[in-house]
């Protein structure tokens, strides 16, 4: 019989207390993971729905805590809920005929990132370039985009991404490879 691999989870005690009905413990989990989850959802969806989806993620986690068996870390489980929420959001938008593109807060970000010393034309070009990159990432196939974001933007290891997505390490590597190949082709002209 295959034995479940023991996972050292810093949230173990809090999860157990929350399962026993200690809401203060769940609030502690909430404060530990809220910011990270919020940022991750921001990178996967547009800014308008981030607060809503983050709240929904934690509501789902709270309601389904009894199903969490502790095979993986709580943070991994939570991230899986969040990515599923994002995928569900994309599906809804697709059904409504909306694009899966992000709301690109172009100029504000460009100014913040590059300062105001650049000329208007340069800033505009930077903005356009940034928006183009955002778009190319946003239109990656969902599975590739999630793997790419979790690995390279959120900084998870491939093994962690595999645990979050519930797939094999080889599958994650293949998705990362494909995502990078697609970006290589689509962003080729932006590289000097």
């Amino acid at each position: 019989m295959r034995k479940a691999k023991a996972v050292v989870d810093p949230d173990f005690d809090l999860v157990e207390k929350s399962k026993a009905g200690d809401n203060a413990a769940f609030e502690e989990l909430l404060s530990r993971h809220y910011q990270r989850t919020h940022a991750m959802i921001f990178h996967l969806t547009d800014a308008n729905r981030v607060d809503d989806l983050t709240q929904e993620t934690f509501c789902l986690a709270y309601r389904n805590l009894h199903r969490f068996r502790g095979d993986a870390k709580f943070s991994t489980w939570l991230t899986r809920i969040a990515t599923n929420q994002c995928r569900s959001e994309w599906r809804k938008r697709k059904r409504r005929g909306e694009h899966r593109l992000e709301d690109v807060p172009g100029e504000a970000i460009a100014e913040k990132a590059h300062g105001k010393s650049k000329s208007g034309r340069e800033t505009m070009m930077e903005t356009e370039k940034g928006e183009r990159i955002d778009r190319e990432i946003a239109v990656l196939p969902p599975k590739l985009r999630i793997a790419f974001t979790l690995r390279y933007i959120e900084g998870n290891s491939p093994a962690e991404v595999a645990a979050i997505l519930g797939c094999k390490l080889g599958t994650v590597r293949s998705r990362l490879f494909n995502a990078r190949e697609i970006l290589k082709v689509r962003l080729r002209d932006l590289v000097k």
């Binding site: 921001f42 800014a47 309601r63 390279y152």
Partner: protein
Amino acid sequence: MNCRKVKKNLVLFLDGELPPSEAAFVRGHLEVCEACRKEAELLRSTFDLAVQRAREKTAPPPPEDYVSLFWQRELDERAGRESVASGASQRVPQKTRWPFGGVMRTRYAIGAVSVIVVAAAVLSILLQDGKQPSKVRLSSPGKEVGPEVPAIVTHQPTPVIVAADPFAQIEKQLEELEAAVRKLKVPALRTASFTGEEMQEVYASIGLAAANNYRDILKMNDVAAKRYAQVARIYPETPAGREAQQILSRLN
């Protein structure tokens, strides 16, 4: 052959995830093969571009009161689930698989079936008479010739009055009344000396409006008290629950 193998492993090589021996092989190959070197450089630069841009986009800060917002949302959704369970609210539409293929929401399916049933019922009523279905006139009851069509009774829910700010409403009504008084052509009222029968009527109407608003406020307090009691009952050990308990004790 080497090029194909190297290209296959380039992403792992760039991520530093290749075992040392294979990494050394790829590195050695990149030193001698220009095509693979260019490929690796392009892969690296486009990747850097995308990741740098994505990391530059900093997420907006989460709302400060996210904990209380969370409990509020959880409470709302729990209330929604309870009402669904008790059948008081609309059910979440379920998917129905049709025999001829395709998926349709049950709500639409029920709608379609109801339309068919109603159409069939109306048709059968019309055909009962059989000979003179064209003489049925629904809009002129005095001259009706066809069979009597039962009136459809619709139960409309009683509108719940929720005043956003009852005090502001009272003030607004007072202002409107005063403005109306000023427009009156009675000189005594235009001078706003607050005398005379008309003015008393105005007072009475103001009082009535105020009383109505006061009743709304009481109604709102009642709703609020129920809500706080719910919070205190379900989440007794949380700050939200404790705060709700305090407010309840003040209200009582």
